[in-house]
């Protein structure tokens, strides 16, 4: 039955060490087996065993690279799922009141290759409010989100992102919306969102912290976010 699928995936997620490895990989960057072993505080052999299970389960994919092996999350779909699991609201969990330490840590973070967290939500809202995105009805079977002319203009003139060029060199969807309807917190994903985060990192608006998923906003970033998105950090 379908239940066995759930338990199989659940088993893969059940171990704290594997979950820590996945959390590290959720930054979107690949890591070697040794890096992950050190990061999670276990022996290399232990991490090797865990990574084997994660690969078998289909959550993680591995590429040979000389004498190293690079592990990464298998797909954006998997990354999205893991983020959703990480954020789902479990009613009975006595809600450990995470506003205190949680606010700063979760204000901005990366989800695979795009910006999520509160900052991701605010960027999304700006795109919607200013009419830079619209529901794409052109193809009846493709209820996606597409960039408006105004959105395209903003990206090229203000940020120097050439969406047309991006489309030619990347086959993935240009723009998606990762949605959490129950929380009414959406953020942008897809190639454009990935490019946007890359730019923010390269231009040093954002910096990765030691925990690779957490992003901090620099002084430059505060100014730029206010200038371009009217976001006050």
């Amino acid at each position: 039955m379908s239940g066995s699928r759930i338990s199989t995936l659940g088993s893969a997620l059940a171990d704290p060490t594997r979950a820590a490895a996945l959390a590290a990989l959720l930054s979107g960057t690949a890591h070697t087996s040794g890096e992950l072993a050190r990061a999670c505080g276990v022996a290399a052999s232990t991490m090797s065993s865990h990574l084997g299970k994660l690969v078998d389960s289909g959550l993680v994919r591995v590429e040979a690279a000389g004498r190293y092996r690079h592990y990464r999350i298998a797909s954006r779909e998997v990354a999205d799922l893991l983020e959703r699991i990480d954020e789902v609201d479990l009613p009975e969990t006595a809600t450990p009141r995470r506003p205190s330490p949680g606010r700063d840590l979760s204000y901005a973070r990366s989800c695979y290759d795009h910006v999520a967290g509160q900052l991701g939500v605010e960027i999304h809202d700006t795109f919607v409010d200013r009419g830079w995105v619209e529901l794409d009805e052109s193809d009846p079977n493709h209820h996606g989100v597409s960039l408006t002319d105004a959105g395209d203009r903003f990206l090229s003139q203000a940020l120097g992102i050439d969406v047309a060029a991006l489309a030619t060199r990347s086959r993935r969807p240009m723009l998606r919306i990762d949605i959490d309807w129950t929380e009414r917190r959406n953020h942008l994903a897809g190639a454009v969102a990935a490019e946007l985060m890359t730019l923010m990192l390269e231009e040093k608006w954002l910096r990765r912290r030691t925990d690779k998923r957490v992003l901090t906003v620099s002084e430059t970033g505060k100014a730029k976010l206010a200038e371009h998105f009217d976001i006050r950090v």
Copy 2:
């Protein structure tokens, strides 16, 4: 770290018996401890232990009812998450080619309280194609989906569903879209979708099979689906 949340939830899902119990509960109806024990083929004491863990994890909620105790999925959000986990495409899993036995079994099924599966997708597509739903921009902080006048008219005239009355007696969102962007398969959820499925069951368009999640389309249903939604089963 956030990883521990994932592993906690993973542990709750890791056991096949617990997964089977969750699958049974995903039909949206409540079940007693004994029913679930028989359905999953384990002793009552074993199921009691599993249900205790599921309640502790926040996935399941329980209500005392005389000398019975009714267990149900904790929230729609949890049901949505479980459905997503159940359907996520794990690349390396050697994709067991599910079209053969999967097609019939998954054509129509219930997800908590609304119709999902291929039929759910087709109903959603009809609502979109005919302009019965639209992106709700009225409240800038509420990027939901709302029924258009045409949609409201269809529901009341063709099916006798009074959306205004529904809104007064139910505080939950009238309409949501459960989205799987990567698969481009969306289906309708929310109070209206729940009411729609209830009507289809009462009017015997659909019938629950022994596996409570699976729905079969009756002859009446085929005619009605063709008439109202132009869906050929």
